[in-house]
Symmetry: C2
């Protein structure tokens, strides 16, 4: 199953696969964390909350060697390593997490937690609580009765996981994209916990542009006749709408440079005979994008996507009036690593948070990732910043 999931990440998106160190395989497993009750930022209660988590490396006696990795929108806590030595590919940031790597598991206890309303709700390697979960009060899936959750709720659940292990301090918190939101939320909301924060392809808040762009992901799901206001757990799920959302997400997370390379592999041509002859036929590049989205949708839940969209829309690190205000509380040293070609969370967003910190006299750094993938360079091309990350963790 892990193999299939990783195929989804690496092969189905046809992105350069992250290569596992041949000499050594970092092994991990998914653990389960439970809370009898959790109260959301919005003031609602979730009973019997459960999330999965993974770790790499060992917690030292002082419990002060902890690095928290916060995952991106379509990922889960499988940030590095393999579940079994014969897994097709390791976790998404294996290039920088492991023994002797930038985030050195010989030195640090690296931990990651599955988000609430995790997108891959139907992946056996994901443990999450969201609209597809059984509501203990009714014995049926929540659907849209599940409370709205925010990035700060993800952080609060992570904090509970850490506290259950006796941890009360983070050497660093690091995450890409939606993970960057959680990382900066940590630094702003729990400043005494966080010594270092690295935001990769990130932002400090969701501006009007981003909130509207995120909404475009939710719309196709609501249009799908099988969605039925979120009550589809006893019938056909809204696969078409979910696949449409994934097509949009995939394209926005990439860049024309990569996309047109893919077109060349497919011998894409504007005047392909199928789409010229019939309005019902598609170009090769559209078929490619559609098939990949449909494959990825198999383990995902459509309502969970709506809740993740909402969590990201509601994001302002520190949950205050403005970034200018909330960045005041940050005590962590911060490093921002946006991708130059990012079309989803453009570099101006990371710059805005970085500058808000600098204006308040905070220790903040900023460097850009290069690459032809766009937003996804923050996941696939992260190794180019291995040295910068390693140095920052020692700083």
């Amino acid at each position: 199953m892990a193999r299939i999931f990783l195929l989804c990440c690496a092969l189905l998106l046809a992105l350069p696969a992250v290569t596992a160190a041949a000499e050594e395989v970092l092994l991990t497993s998914k653990e389960r964390f439970s809370m009898p009750s959790y109260t959301t930022v919005g003031g609602r209660t979730i009973k019997s909350l459960q999330v999965g988590w993974e770790s790499y490396g060992k917690l030292n006696q002082a419990k002060d060697n902890v690095i928290l990795i916060t995952h991106y929108f379509s990922a889960n806590s499988h940030a590095a390593g393999k579940y079994h030595p014969d897994d097709a590919a390791p976790g998404y940031w294996d290039a920088i997490i492991g023994p002797g790597k930038a985030i050195d598991t010989d030195q640090y206890f690296v931990i990651s937690v599955d988000s609430l309303a995790n997108l891959n709700a139907n992946d056996p390697n994901v443990i999450t609580t969201g609209p597809a979960s059984i509501n203990p009060d009714t014995g049926k899936p929540y659907g849209l009765d599940f409370p709205v959750v925010t990035i700060k709720d993800f952080v609060n659940v992570q904090k509970a996981v850490l506290e259950s292990l006796g941890i009360s301090k983070l050497h660093a918190v690091i995450g890409p994209s939606m993970g960057s939101m959680q990382a900066l939320e940590w630094a702003a909301s729990y400043p005494d916990w966080v010594q270092r924060m690295i935001s990769v392809i990130g932002t400090g808040d969701s501006d009007a542009w981003t909130t509207a762009a995120l909404e475009q992901w939710a719309i196709p799901i609501r249009l799908d006749k099988n969605w039925q206001d979120g009550n589809y757990y006893d019938s056909e799920p809204p696969v078409d709408g979910l696949a449409a959302a994934l097509m949009l997400i995939t394209q926005q997370a990439l860049h024309p440079l990569y996309f047109n390379q893919q077109g060349e592999k497919l011998n894409y041509h504007p005047l392909e005979t199928g789409p010229l002859s019939s309005i019902r036929k598609s170009h090769s590049i559209v078929t490619w994008l559609t098939n990949r989205a449909r494959s990825r949708a198999e383990k995902m839940d459509a309502n969970h996507l709506l809740y993740l969209v909402r969590a990201c829309q509601l994001f302002l690190a520190g949950n205050g009036d403005s970034l200018a205000q909330t960045m005041q509380s940050v005590k962590a040293k911060t490093l921002f690593l946006p991708a130059s070609n990012d079309l989803l969370l453009m570099p101006y967003m990371a710059q805005k948070a970085h500058e808000a910190l600098q204006k308040r006299g905070k220790d903040s750094r900023y460097e850009e990732l290069s690459g032809s993938l766009g937003h996804f360079d923050g996941v696939v091309s992260i190794k180019q910043k291995a040295d910068a990350i390693e140095a920052f963790l020692k700083y």
Copy 2:
């Protein structure tokens, strides 16, 4: 009705309204052109084809003062002037078309033609033939039986309109966005006609990225349960899907700089109480975008949008193997004016066509439009290139 349409263009999108010259109102009217039969590039026949056209200025005796304006995706041939002096706003490029303006109607006969499958099929000021038209063979709307049409088909119909007026030469052909496709198609397919070509926010072909991006506009319409495989003319039309498509188009045609200014006007905040309290509620910026899309959708036909998407996807100027090959035939002097902040047809696309022409020793120029609107700077902010356009027309 013209007033309402223009409100859609200017006010509902809340873009800076094009100001009419106070001193003089250029008046125009929609004319009708009919062809008993037309054969498409794909080899299908359309009977009783009809399109609307407008003109500004006078055709001289030699019939050699003709400038053809080719319109963008959601526009029609109302490029300049007003139908009535009390119209709320003039045509979309009135800032550069009129007496004494860059495209001087005291000197040139300026003409524009409604596209086939025009998006605003239900606007009384638009005359078009498309899937919403009655199929003479059945007495019912074509729906998806309407043949696929291409940018070259738009050009061929324009050519028939011009020939009906005794015209056989264009001083220039000029168009923004989808209009730029038609302009370069003219120069490549009918080189003996075209003396000058100006491509604004344009491209020479639809690459894999663009064809996939265009598909994203079509998907919400097909998801709408009212779409019914295009057979909705006797029932409720797919308004939700059409509005969703327009929301996406609107955002992609704009830039965060403009969008976030709009957010400020709305007092947008990520943590608005509505969307925090309920998954069914939306942020102010989403409501704004939704309402504008719904208003604009009123005069539009959803199937027409699918056919326009397909026409743009099938675009390679000159309809050959590659731009490198087809640009060889161009005889026109060419000028490319992409917008620096364009996220829909990024400047690299115009550069590619410009460089293909230069490599073949053609006389081609390239300048970028600035502005905070992104793609839409090619429509709303065109006046900044008035001098460049005026000079090019005299060159």
